[in-house]
Amino acid sequence: MKYTPKEITEEVNVTKVHPLVNLASLLGTTIVVSAAIYLGLGFVAGQLATRMDPETEIKIGQSLFPTGISHREHSQQLEYVEGLLGSLQQEMGATRIPLTVHLWENEQLNAAIFPGGNIVVTTGLLEAVETENELAFVLAHELGHFAARDTLKALGRSLVFVFVSTAIDSQGGASGVVSTTGQLTNLHYSRTQESAADLYALEAIIRRYQHGGYSLDFFARIKAKDTKGKLSEYFSTHPITQDRIDELKTIAAARGWSMTGVASPIPETVTSSDHLP
C-alpha cells in the first residue's frame, strides 16, 4: 500500500455558517418560541385567575404575603387607613374577600395590593400625602387592581415566569429558584390594567367626595419633584405619566364629573410622625 499525502482543503468538519447568521437565527427561534409559551401559559394563568374561588385566593395570599415586615398595629394611623378604605369599598360594593391593611414602617412612598386582599401602605406615603383625597385615590387605585383581579393575573404570569426560568436553569438548582421566586411579589401591571384601575379609582372618589378635586395632586406633585430612590419604588410598578392624568381628566369631563371641590384634610394624629402607636 502506498501512502499519498493529502492536504486538507475542504473543511468538512466545520459547517460553513457565518457566526452572526447562526446567532440571529438562534435568537429568533428562542424569542419566538418563548414568547409563544409565555403568552400561552400567561393566558391560561389569566383564565385561572378569573375563575379562582375566594377560599383559594385567601390561602394563596397567606402563603405569599411577605412576612417579617414591621407592621404598625392598633395605631390611629392604621385605623384611619382602614376607615378610609372601608368607606371607598362601601361606595363601590363589597369585595369578594375581606381586605387587610398593613401599615409598613418604611420611608419609601409605596402602596401595593397583594393576592389574598392584603394592602400594604408605607408610613412614608402617609406622611407625604397632603389631603385625604390624594390618599383615597392611591387606595382606590389599588382597590381597582383587586377588583379586576390584576394581582392574581400578575401572580399567574410570575408563576409561569418562574416555571419557565427554572426549567431553563435546570442545572442551576436551588439558587435559580430562590432568585426568581423573589419576582413573585414584584407585581407588574399592563398599561390597560393601570388605566382601568385609575378609572375605577376616580369613580370611587367621585362617589365618596362628589368631586375629583385634589385627588390627582399627589401624582402631579411627585412627578414635578421626582427624585431618585425614595420615590422610585411606587413608580417602578405604577409608572405615572402625564398621559394618565390627562386621560382621567378627559373621562371626567365627558362624564360630567366635577374635578374641583373642597379638600378633605387628614387628621393631625395621622400626619404627625412622632405619634406614638
Binding site: 501512502y3 493529502k6 486538507i8 455558517v17 446567532l23 418560541v33 431553563i168 442551576g172
Partner: protein, 148 residues
C-alpha cells in the same frame, strides 16, 4: 441597563477577539500541515506487528482551547432549542488538528518514518458536573507510535 451594556461589550469582545484568534490559528495550522505532510500518520497498527521497524517511540501532542464569550452565548441558546452546535465545531476541529500537528512535529524531530496507531481523545475542562457556569475549554490529545 448597565448589565445589558456589559453583556453586549463581552459579546462583542468575544466575537471579534475569538474570530481573530481563530483565523490566526487556522493560518498557522494550514502552514504547518503543509510542512508536515510528508510524514504519514495512520490509524492502523494496533495488535499487529509493526512494519519494518527498528525503533519505536510514543509521541503525544495535546492542546487546550477555550471558547469565547460569543461562542458560549450561542451555545447557551443552542442548548435551549437543540441541533448542531456549529460554533463549537471549529473549536474541536482546531483542537484535533493542533494536537496531531504537535505529535507529528515531535516525531519529525526524532526522525520518524511513520506514525502508526494514531488515536485522538478529547475531554472538557473547567465544567464540573452540576456546574453549568464558568469557562468552556476542551483538551484534545493525539498520540501514536512513531517508528524508524
Amino acid at each position: 441597563m448597565y448589565n445589558l451594556i456589559i453583556f453586549f461589550c463581552l459579546l462583542a469582545l468575544g466575537y471579534f477577539s475569538g474570530n481573530y484568534f481563530e483565523q490566526q490559528h487556522y493560518k498557522s495550522i494550514k502552514r504547518r500541515e503543509r510542512k508536515t505532510l510528508s510524514l504519514p500518520a495512520v490509524t492502523f497498527g494496533a495488535k499487529k506487528p509493526i512494519p519494518e521497524a527498528e525503533v519505536a517511540a510514543l509521541f503525544v501532542g495535546s492542546v487546550v482551547i477555550s471558547a469565547d464569550y460569543f461562542k458560549m452565548f450561542v451555545y447557551g441558546l443552542r442548548n435551549l432549542v437543540g441541533g448542531r452546535v456549529v460554533v463549537y465545531e471549529s473549536l474541536l476541529d482546531r483542537g484535533r488538528r493542533e494536537a496531531l500537528l504537535r505529535m507529528k512535529e515531535q516525531a519529525i524531530t526524532w526522525g520518524a518514518s511513520t506514525i502508526v496507531n494514531v488515536r485522538l481523545e478529547s475531554s472538557n475542562i473547567g465544567r464540573q458536573a452540576g456546574n453549568n457556569k464558568g469557562m468552556v475549554a476542551i483538551e484534545v490529545i493525539a498520540y501514536g507510535t512513531g517508528i524508524k
